[in-house]
Symmetry: C2
Subunit: 412 residues, 2 copies
C-alpha cells in the first residue's frame, strides 16, 4: 500500500459480487469426490482459464513442504508461469507422504491436463487437510473428471466451500478496477486454519484477474500485496506444510498492465487479499475478536512489523483481549522483548484510541473506557515507538479456551 | 553441562535440606509488610551475608526494565560485584513507575544498608508483582527494618514463600559439593510466573554458596549454569520486565574456587538451578504436564536450542500434549518453521521413546502407545535432525484452558 499514493491514483476500485470467476476468462467447478467422509461435502475444486493465463504463487517457508507444494513449484519453474488450471482438494493435506504422495500430486495435475487438453506442468496443485495420510486416488480421479466436465463461469461460491476444512464460513471477494485504459476485475477465495480436526493448519488463497500481465509482473504484484495482507495476519504464529497463495491472470479484459498501470493491479489484488485475509482472522479457531496491532514511529518497516507481530502473537496479550482487559503492561512487555531497539520512555500505547501509557508511566484513569472498547468484535492496539516514521499493521485474534478445546481434543 | 565430563569429576554432589541459608555465612528473614493485601501474607525478604560476598546477576533482556533491575545493575557495576545483601518484595513489580520508582528502589537498598552497616550500593534489589503501580514505602520501610532485625540462619523457607506471587508452591533446593580440597554448599530459591493476578510474569532466582569465588568466576559459572536451566525453560514464551537471577558467594567454607575446582562450582549451581527451574515449569500457570523437548543431531547447539524452543512454545504442540495427542505432524511443522536448515527426510520424531516419524513418513501404528505415555505428568519429545551431533533440551509445559482463564479473567 505504501507505494501507491492516493493523490496519483488514476483508477477506482469497486467491490462486485462473486469470487474467483468474477474476472472473465475463468471457470470453476466443485464436487464431492469422497475424500471427506461426510456425504455430499464438497472436497475438490478445479479452477481453469479459458485459454492460458500468467500464473504466480507463493508457498510456505516451512522446511516440511507437502507434495502439492513441491509439485506446484516445479510446474511453475518448468512453464515459466504460463498455465491453464489449478486443482485443489480438502480433507487430506498430502503432506509427509513420501514418494507416493509426490506421484499422487503429479497424477492430480495430469488428470486435469488430460481433460482440459494442456500439459500436466501447466496445472498447479493444492491440498489441505490431515497430514501423514495418503490421498484416496480411486475417489479423487473420478472426482477430477466430474469437476472438469462441469466447469462454469458462475459457480465460484461452490469452489470457495470445497476448499474449506473447518473454516466457519467461506471466504470470497471480488472488485472491479476502472482505469483510463479500461476496466478489469480481480477475484479471489481463501481458506484459513480451522484446525478443529487433527493436523490441519493450512492457509490457501487463490486470486484471479482478467488483466493482462506477464508472469513476472503478476509475481511482483502478488509478493507486494501478500506482504500487507496474507503475510500480515496471525492466528497462532504457526506456519503450515501446505500454505500456498496462487494468482492467475487471463488477460481477457484486454487491459495490459504496464508500469503505469501496475499500481492499479496491485491495489486490486490488495483489496481482494485484504478482505480474504481478514476473513481468515475472523474465522481463526476459537477467535471471538479481531485485533489490529499497528506499530508507528519505528525506525524501519521491518522493525514495526516485528514489534507488531510479537504483540499479536503474545499469549498474554491475546488472553487479555479475550478478557476485555486493557492490559498495557503486557503490550509494553511484548514490545520490549521483540528484539527491536527503542526507548520505552518515548513509547506510547493506545487501545481503541485511548492513551494508556506514555513517558514510561500508565494512564490508569483511562483503563475503564478502554475496557469498554475491548468488548467489541474488532479491537485496535496502537504502539508508537518514538524512533522514526515507519509503520506496519498485523492482524490477529484473541486466545480463548475454545482454541485449547479445539486443538486439545483429539482422535488418534 | 557440556564442559564437565563425568569421567574427569573430582567431586560428588549430594542434595541436602534447606535453601538459600544452607550454605554457611548467610542469614535471611521474611515479613508481611503490607504490600500484599492479604493479612499476614509474607511479601518481603532480606538475604544477607555475614561479612561480604562476591555477587553476580543476570537480568531480563526486555527493553522495559523495572526500577529494581536498573538499580541492581548499577550497584553491581559500582561495587564490582562485592556486596552484603539482597532485598526483595512481592506484590508490586515497581515497573513502569518512572523516576519515583527508581528513587523507591534506591531507598529499599539504603534502608537495608543502614540496618546492616554497609554501603547502599552493596545491596541489590528485586521486586515482583503488578506493573505500573508504585510501592507503598510507608509500609515497605518498616517492613525492611523488621526483617533486618530478625535475620537468621534457619528460616530460608519463609523467604522462599515471601517471594511468591501466585506460584502454586515455593521452590527451594540445596546441595553439598564434596571435593578433594574440601566441601562447600550451594542453595537457592526461585519464583515462577503464576500470572493469576494481572501483569505478573516474573521469574526471580537467588543462589547462594559458601565457596570462595571471585565475582568474575561467580558470574562465569552463573551464565553457564543459567544457559541450560533457567534460560532453557518456557511457560508461554514471554519475558518479563523484572526477570532476575542473583548469585552470592560468602567464601565461609574456605574452599577456594580455582580453575581446577570451577567444574565443581558449576555443577553445584547447575544441580540447584535445574531443580528450581523445573519447579517453575511444573508450577506454570494452568500447566498439567511438563514437556522436555530434546533436539539431537543438530549442526550446532544454537540450532538445537532454536528448534527445541520453537517446538516447546508452539501452541499447537502444547495443546496436543494437553489432549494427550501424539501429534507428530505438529512437531514436524514447528521444527520446519524454526528457521534452522535441515532435511525433513533425515529427521525423526520420538514421543516418550516411541518412534512416530522417520524417512519423511509416519509410524501411525505406534500412535496409541505414544498417546498412553502422553497421559503422564512429564513427557519427553525427542527430535533428531540428522544434520550433525549437537543437542539441547528445553523444558516447557502444556497449554490448558486454565491458562486462558487465569490470564483472561481480570480486574480493571
Amino acid at each position: 500500500m505504501a507505494d501507491v499514493m492516493p493523490s496519483t491514483r488514476q483508477f477506482t476500485i469497486t467491490p462486485i459480487d462473486g469470487g474467483i470467476t468474477s474476472p472473465t476468462g475463468f471457470r470453476s467447478a466443485a464436487v464431492h469426490s469422497g475424500i471427506k467422509a461426510k456425504p455430499g461435502a464438497l472436497d475438490l475444486a478445479v479452477l481453469a482459464v479459458d485459454t492460458f493465463a500468467s500464473m504466480a504463487a507463493l508457498f510456505t517457508t516451512n522446511l516440511a513442504q507437502a507434495a502439492p507444494v513441491l509439485v506446484s513449484k516445479r510446474h511453475l519453474e518448468v512453464t515459466h508461469g504460463v498455465g491453464c488450471a489449478i486443482v485443489v482438494n480438502s480433507g487430506c493435506a498430502n503432506a509427509c507422504t513420501g514418494d507416493n504422495g509426490l506421484a499422487n500430486a503429479v497424477t492430480m495435475a495430469s488428470e486435469v491436463a488430460a481433460d482440459l487438453g494442456c500439459e500436466p506442468e501447466q496445472v498447479l496443485v493444492a491440498s489441505t487437510g490431515v497430514i501423514g495420510v495418503g490421498l484416496k486416488m480411486d475417489r479423487l480421479v473420478p472426482g477430477i473428471h466430474a469437476a472438469c466436465t462441469s466447469l462454469a463461469h458462475g459457480n465460484a461460491g461452490e469452489a470457495a466451500r470445497a476448499i474449506m476444512t473447518t473454516d466457519p464460513f467461506p471466504k470470497e471477494h471480488a472488485v472491479r478496477v476502472d482505469t483510463a485504459q479500461g476496466s478489469f476485475s480481480v477475484g479471489g477465495m481463501a481458506k484459513g486454519s480451522g484446525m478443529i480436526e487433527p493436523n490441519m493448519a493450512t492457509m490457501l488463497g487463490f486470486l484471479t484477474t482478467d488483466a493482462q500481465a506477464t508472469p513476472a509482473m503478476l509475481h511482483r504484484a502478488l509478493v507486494a500485496s501478500a506482504r500487507d495482507t496474507f503475510n500480515a495476519i496471525t492466528v497462532d504464529g504457526e506456519c503450515s506444510t501446505n500454505d500456498s497463495l496462487f494468482a492467475m491472470a487471463s488477460g481477457t479484459s484486454g487491459v495490459v498492465i504496464t508500469e503505469e498501470l501496475y499500481p492499479a493491479l496491485l491495489e486490486g489484488l490488495l483489496a481482494v487479499s485484504r478482505n480474504l485475509a481478514l476473513g481468515i482472522v475472523r474465522g481463526g479457531e476459537g477467535a471471538t475478536r479481531m485485533i489490529a496491532v499497528t506499530v508507528r514511529n519505528a525506525r524501519t518497516t521491518d522493525d514495526a512489523r516485528q514489534v507488531a507481530r510479537t504483540i499479536a502473537n503474545s499469549p498474554l496479550v491475546k488472553t487479555a483481549v479475550h478478557g476485555a482487559d486493557p492490559n498495557w503492561g503486557r503490550i509494553v512487555a511484548a514490545a520490549g522483548r521483540a528484539g527491536v531497539r527503542f526507548d520505552i520512555g518515548r513509547a506510547t500505547v493506545h487501545i481503541g484510541g485511548i492513551l494508556l501509557f506514555e513517558n514510561g508511566l500508565p494512564h490508569d484513569d483511562a483503563a475503564p473506557r478502554a475496557a469498554e472498547i475491548l468488548t467489541r468484535d474488532a479491537v485496535d492496539i496502537e504502539v508508537s515507538l518514538g524512533a522514526g516514521d515507519a509503520a506496519a499493521t498485523i492482524w490477529g485474534c484473541d486466545l480463548s479456551a475454545e482454541y485449547v478445546r479445539i486443538n486439545g481434543e483429539y482422535r488418534t
